[in-house]
């Protein structure tokens, strides 16, 4: 064996994988080839542990234009000859090592995935997870990540319209930073990420290539890590100004017919960018590393091919148009160099001047082995699910007020205003519903339409029950869009899990995907793009299984969108969905964790009812029957009512609402498939008739008005008290 374990570890390949490479190549790989295989066969690029499972997810609908993995991001037709292009991607490990730059370059990377397709990025979101803010290191990570997202995103002039932030112990050493971007393009102007057409030229545009980010894909994103000092050089440094110039220049270029394709450089840099676009184009590529402009002297071909320097694009220029393309980039003061060409032999050939340093078939490089295993349900999972609510005392009436205040101020529920006001969410003149509602709404200029966006993923549910958690992640995202009046169109997901080589983690991954797949099928929402981030562990402990769903929906008439806050005094408030208290609904709830310190018990969802509820709510909004709609989720009914009050500073007074069964479950249980709506008194009958038609319970809860939230006999608090807990809860912890 001429290759040592240390070397294989460096490129994150196993002995068996190395043997496979030797066998298929018919020889030992060169150093550069080994690095290329390591990157392309990494989990990050090759999806070797997840590919077989991901095939379960439905990916088609009449509106879907691109198959998953075929391009950098998924694309959905929204009519009027327009498409939206979107994707979510993780930057967890870089952010753990260097939070500001890790998060910043996460934004940069996802934005490139969008404009590389010729789509103008019009919205960002982020889904973040941290350890508890009581710990100074977690506060440092939190501040750095939020700062990095703000610093990079604001400079680009793309509004950051939403997302979510959760805290749990399991993320202390391994925060999650998932960045989402959505763009809009004319259907006929979508650019392919294909290196096609023999003789066409490969042009590298943007930043010079340095040693930053070596082994990002194979080292950081595809295995666990402990020694952060050593890994700091694997994190890239972002330059948002350069990215902004790239956006404008590349979008200008997308309008021309001078190019055959475009591909950004992300994980595994030039290697994945060139080889994957060659694979899509069905041909080969040839690159001379000496023609790649360098940031520093003495870089080896290996370093050039694996550098993850940011803000670089690979443009496949039609032969004869290189002068025009170069002139366009010159005008934007962007460097552009021809570094190679498209060939017809199906080989990825890397030269250093005249010397061949790598020469491997494109198909082999992009055919990483696919692993699939049979695993049993871990015993500890049974114990987590086997929770008897009767083992804890029910809430007493005298503690209801203080419990609500504690929940409103808990980091997972409290308003995230002190974060999102640091993100520019209005640039672009499209943001109709700002962050803080169930879903953001952006109008589409030149049409009557709007799109609605949200991210969701309750990892605690997934930890206790991966299958139900997977279902709920999809269902809740769809419910959030429904509350804004949007018909869900498609989703993109980011699957954050531990080390899949461990049986327990593989089980979580498998079951979670199965749950998501079922919800997608039944709600008829295709998965159009996504990303997996595995090996999220610290000292052998995996994070909660954390699937993050980012979903887009369509509102045909923007004038009919809906928001979560109560609107007018005297309006009636209804709970749509099952009004019966489901005893087990405190399972895995925020209440159970915050008040009792217990993370156990299955969450509750009835998917069949969920579908009827969403259809009912959507019809009620489109017919103009309801004035506000708010998803009843983390913290249950009482928290949802408080949030609907606080948005516009309007109180609530109950009629004769009574807790049936356990009081804690009735007030704070998190049974899914429930929406709080408010209606003008004159629309009440219509709403009840509509709900009846969908077999959805519509319970009259009370009326809007005053400056207090009163659930007679249970809760009575002023909006001021509620506001201090909810609006300022997070800020007080920082």
């Amino acid at each position: 064996m001429p290759v040592s374990k240390e070397i294989l570890d460096e490129v994150a390949l196993s002995q068996q994988e190395y043997q496979l490479i030797v066998e298929k190549l018919g020889r030992e790989p060169s150093e550069v080839e080994l690095g290329m295989f390591g990157s392309l066969w990494s989990e990050h690029c090759g999806y070797k542990h997840s590919k077989a499972l991901l095939r379960q997810l439905p990916s088609r609908s009449k509106r879907v234009l691109v198959k998953p993995g075929e391009e950098n991001a998924g694309a959905v037709d929204i009519g009027d000859e327009l498409v939206v292009v979107m994707k979510i991607e993780s930057h967890n490990h870089p952010s753990a090592i260097e939070p500001y730059q890790g998060a910043a370059t996460g934004v940069g990377g996802i934005v490139r995935d969008i404009f590389t397709m010729g789509a103008r990025p019009i919205a960002l979101m982020n889904s973040l997870r941290f350890g508890p803010l009581t710990d100074a290191h977690n506060r440092y990570l939190f501040g750095g990540v939020v700062g990095g997202i703000a610093g990079y995103g604001n400079c680009l002039g793309i509004p950051d319209v939403g997302g979510e932030i959760y805290f749990a112990d399991c993320y202390a050493g391994n925060p999650l930073v998932n960045a989402f971007c959505l763009g809009i393009a004319r259907a006929d102007k979508l650019v392919k990420a294909r290196a096609k057409g023999e003789g066409n030229l490969l042009m590298l545009v943007g930043a010079d290539t340095g040693r930053d980010g070596l082994h990002g894909a194979s080292g950081l994103a595809s295995r666990t890590f402990e020694e952060e000092r050593e890994l700091r050089s694997t994190v890239q440094v972002g330059n948002p100004f350069l990215e902004k110039l790239l956006i404008e220049a590349c979008l200008e270029l997308a309008e021309t017919d001078w190019i055959a394709g475009m591909q950004d450089l992300g994980a595994a840099g030039l290697t994945s960018s060139a080889v994957e676009s060659a694979a899509r184009g069905g041909g080969g590529i040839e690159i001379d590393v000496l023609r790649v402009p360098r940031r520093e002297k003495g870089m080896t071909p290996y370093e050039v091919m694996l550098s993850e320097s940011q803000e670089r694009m690979l443009v496949v220029v039609k032969k004869g148009y290189e002068g025009k393309v170069k002139a366009l980039f010159d005008r934007w003061e962007l460097r552009s160099d021809i570094i190679g060409c498209v060939t017809g032999d199906g080989i990825a050939r890397i030269l250093e001047g005249k010397k061949v340093v790598a020469e491997a078939p494109v198909n082999l490089l992009t055919s990483s082995p696919v692993y699939q295993r049979r695993v049993k349900k871990p015993e500890w999972l049974n114990r987590l699910q086997d929770f008897d609510a009767n083992s804890i005392p029910d809430l007493s009436r005298k503690n209801a007020n203080s419990t609500l205040l504690r929940l409103l101020a808990s980091p997972n529920i409290t308003s995230k205003r002190c974060v999102y006001r640091q993100y520019d969410h209005q640039v672009g003149d499209n943001t109709v519903v700002l962050p803080g509602s169930d879903a953001a709404v952006l109008r589409i200029k030149g049409t009557k339409k709007a799109i609605s966006l949200t991210t969701d993923g309750n990892a605690r549910y997934c930890y206790v029950n991966p299958y139900l958690g997977g279902i709920i992640a999809v269902a809740e995202a769809a419910r959030n869009l429904t509350c804004s009046g949007a018909q869900p169109l498609a989703l993109t997901n980011c699957l954050n899990f531990g080390n899949p080589e461990k049986d327990d983690v593989y089980y979580q991954l498998k079951d979670c995907i199965a749950g998501m797949a079922r919800a997608c099928r039944e709600l008829k929402i295709p998965v159009i793009s996504g990303n997996v981030s595995l090996y999220n562990e610290t000292k052998g402990e995996a994070i909660y299984p954390t699937p993050v769903v980012a979903m887009v929906g369509l509102i045909e008439d923007v004038a009919k969108h809906c928001t979560s806050g109560f609107k007018n005094e005297g309006d009636l408030v209804f709970l749509l969905g099952d009004s019966q208290t489901i005893g087990s609904s405190i399972g895995s709830s925020e209440y159970l964790e915050v008040i009792h310190g217990i993370t156990m018990g299955n969450p509750y969802i009835d998917l069949e009812m969920e579908i009827r509820l969403q259809h009912c709510c959507l019809e009620a909004i489109s017919r103009g029957l309801i004035k506000s709609a708010h998803d009843c989720s983390d913290g249950g009914l009482a928290v949802a009512l408080a949030e609907s009050c606080l948005v516009n500073g309007l109180g609530f007074m109950s009629f004769n609402w009574k807790a049936e069964g356990r009081m804690d479950a009735a007030l704070f249980g998190e049974a899914q498939s429930r929406i709080i709506v408010s209606v003008a008194p004159k629309s009440m009958w219509k709403l009840e008739k509509l709900a009846d038609r969908y077999h959805i319970a519509a319970t009259r809860l009370g009326t809007v008005g005053g400056k207090r939230l009163t659930l007679k006999g249970y809760i009575d608090l002023s909006l001021k008290q509620l506001g201090e807990a909810w609006w300022d809860g997070l800020e007080k912890l920082l």
Partner: protein, 228 residues
């Protein structure tokens, strides 16, 4: 009349300004590349928001050396109207066309939020259509927006009534919480001595339709149109 919108590398409110002026106010409007040296065909030139040259070094510090800035000096000397919004205001201060400077917000954070601005002087080309002391709801989005000037300059600005907009409550009260960035005297916008150059941190182009939460920004454009 014709509006021109200057694009520096890194500018991003250009498209929003264009939208507000052409789609909402139905005005003639063109983009101007930062290398342009002739502005004679325009009646009003805008320096929009963004991060010109990444705001590296200091916001506006590099953009002020763009070729178009020489042309802009001539343009203002002719008495034509110039409005700098956000980064545009920072560039105007850096170039000396407006006095003072815009420092990092006192909260040390980027702030994107709605603000209320009280119109302090309605006899300018930019505010002629405003009611006296009218409060406008217009959002901000900036990291460096804390207006600062030395005491003499500040006194002169106030004496000449060149402070045009101040951050206030929704009912027009000057309070500390209403000041989102720590600006001296709650200053949100000022004009030059001649009265033809306005700089303001809030973004009127974002308040151009009720659908977006406010159309109060349009009154500034309407004032400009009425004055030419």
């Amino acid at each position: 009349m014709k509006f021109g919108i200057i694009i520096f590398p890194g500018t991003w409110s250009d498209r929003d300004c264009h939208y507000a002026l052409s789609d909402i106010l139905k005005q003639k409007v063109e983009y101007i590349w930062h290398k342009e040296t002739d502005l004679s065909e325009y009646d009003c030139v805008m320096l929009p928001g963004g991060f010109s040259y990444g705001d590296y070094l200091r916001s506006g510090a590099i953009a002020r050396f763009s070729p178009v800035m020489t042309a802009l000096e001539r343009f203002t000397a002719q008495g034509k109207l110039v409005i700098g919004i956000c980064n545009g205001f920072q560039i105007l201060c850096e170039s000396g066309l407006l006095p003072g400077a815009l420092l990092t917000n006192d909260n040390l954070q980027y702030r994107c939020q709605w603000t209320h601005l009280r119109t302090e002087n309605t006899s300018t080309a930019f505010t002629s259509q405003c009611q006296k002391r009218q409060v406008l709801k217009i959002p901000i989005g900036h990291y460096e927006g804390r207006y600062y000037a030395d005491d003499a300059t500040l006194a002169e600005l106030e004496a000449d009534r060149r402070v045009i907009f101040r951050y206030t409550t929704a009912t027009g009260k000057i309070t500390e919480p209403a000041n989102p960035n720590g600006s001296m005297n709650n200053i949100a916008g000022i004009i030059n001595k001649k009265g033809n150059v306005l700089g303001m941190m809030p973004h009127p182009e974002r308040a151009c339709e009720p659908l977006l939460g406010s159309s109060d920004g349009n009154i500034i454009w309407e004032s400009i149109i009425a004055s030419i």
